[in-house]
């Protein structure tokens, strides 16, 4: 993998802006509900029925079903919320990161830590 760049542009970074926070509010709320063990069980038993409880759009639900972590982040679900969804499906941070970076989890694990060097004032 190439080393990370020093900028905040996509696809390197999906900034969680205030607009995104607002647009993704229902997705974030849905994902955060999975902090509760009984909710995790209910969701896994019948994902579609469970998602009906939240004001998700059909497109939102498709992203969840597809476990399209990258599109969920772009849609405004907060990473820490998406992580609850990922954990509910037995995954972890590296699954999300690998999907974001377009590599396999094995590749990403091997690449970390991705050492770079720079300090402020000396770009």
């Amino acid at each position: 993998m190439p080393l990370p760049s020093f900028d905040l542009k996509e696809p390197g970074t999906v900034q969680f802006t205030a607009e995104r926070a607002f647009d993704g509010r229902h997705l974030t709320a849905f994902c955060l509900s999975l902090r509760d063990e009984s909710n995790r069980a209910a969701y896994l038993t019948d994902p579609d029925a469970y998602m009906q409880r939240y004001a998700l759009t059909a497109a939102d639900r498709d992203l969840v079903r597809a476990r399209d972590w990258t599109a969920l982040l772009r849609r405004g679900a907060h990473l820490q919320a998406v992580l609850k969804l990922c954990a509910t499906h037995g995954g972890n941070l590296f699954d999300i990161g690998a999907h974001n970076a377009g590599v396999s989890v094995t590749e990403l694990l091997a690449a970390c830590p991705r050492i770079v060097s720079a300090v402020p004032g000396k770009a």
């Binding site: 696809p11 205030a18 820490q80 999300i96 990403l108 050492i115 060097s117 402020p120």
Partner: protein
């Protein structure tokens, strides 16, 4: 009056906690976490010598307690205990954080009097922001009461870096207004360089972390001029949490000195620790 005896800056990350539990089970620390484990030993010894009576911990929640329905810029915990939050993989075998609601009320009154617009939490759960590093430095059962102050590092806009330094100054005045002889340690915890999403996932600017640990003790004013976005650009989006460390430094007097400083980069988060003391508490 109570007084501040020193400060602790330290990283947090879920994997640090996971590794602590695994090492406890296995009787051995994994190779990549060995430097961090060893690196925390001197800090642990220093805390033992400093004998704090109270810890004020400036940390950040990661959507494990709060939600975006109501996300506070600054929240304070008022309680005699603060439970651990389940972050999705079940609870870790740790007791709740001990608290002292009278300290919580005191600090709330003092900070609101100084125009900090706190959200006051009588039911506050805490995540790896505190639980991940605490077992490395203090062995359970924990007896020193804690007042947690949660700062928004989750949603934009974040508080200005100067606001965090101002919080530190206000904490100093608030502690000194406490009618006791207690010895208070100010703790600030935020991950050092890291980014856990996007194609920059895993960015590891270990030099930035070392530079930060060198700058913080004597050059806070210079650090405050750096925009949080610049820290994010160089160290990853979650390097914004370094701004929390400003509250610790600003709470100490200008003559406070470094007792110990260490950093390592186990996997995806810069892990560092800094212990400072006020001159009359100097051990070095």
């Amino acid at each position: 009056m109570a007084r501040i005896i020193g400060g602790l800056g330290i990283s947090h990350t879920p994997s640090m906690g996971v590794e602590f539990d695994r090492a406890a089970d296995n009787g051995a620390v994994a190779t990549e976490w060995q430097p961090w484990f060893e690196g925390t030993r001197p800090a642990r010894a220093l805390l033992e010598r400093l004998r704090p009576d109270h810890l004020v911990i400036v940390y950040n929640d990661h959507l494990n307690h709060f939600t975006l329905d109501a996300y506070p810029t600054f929240a304070i915990g008022v309680g005699n205990g603060f439970p651990q939050m389940d972050e999705g993989w079940g609870l870790r075998p740790l007791p709740e954080l001990p608290g002292d609601h009278r300290w919580g009320i005191h600090l709330t009154e003092q900070l609101i009097e100084r125009d900090f617009d706190l959200t006051v939490c009588q039911g506050l759960g805490v995540d790896h922001g505190i639980f991940s590093w605490l077992p490395y430095l203090l062995e359970p059962p924990w007896t020193v009461p804690i007042t947690p102050i949660a700062v928004n590092m989750i949603r934009e806009p974040l508080p200005r870096p100067q606001r965090l330094a101002d919080l530190g100054l206000a904490l100093r005045a608030a502690v000194e207004a406490h009618p006791s002889e207690e010895r208070v340690l100010i703790v600030a915890t935020g991950g050092m360089s890291h980014q856990i999403s996007g194609a920059r996932f895993g960015i590891a600017n270990a030099d930035l972390d070392k530079w930060f640990l060198q700058q913080l003790p004597a050059h806070l004013d210079d650090l405050l001029k750096i925009e949080v976005r610049e820290l994010q650009r160089l160290g990853g989006t979650e390097a914004s949490e370094l701004a929390l460390w400003y509250a610790m430094r600003a709470a100490l007097g200008p003559q406070a000195g470094v007792e110990y400083s260490f950093s390592s980069f186990p996997k995806i988060t810069g892990c560092g620790v800094l212990v400072m003391t006020e001159p009359e508490e100097a051990i070095r």
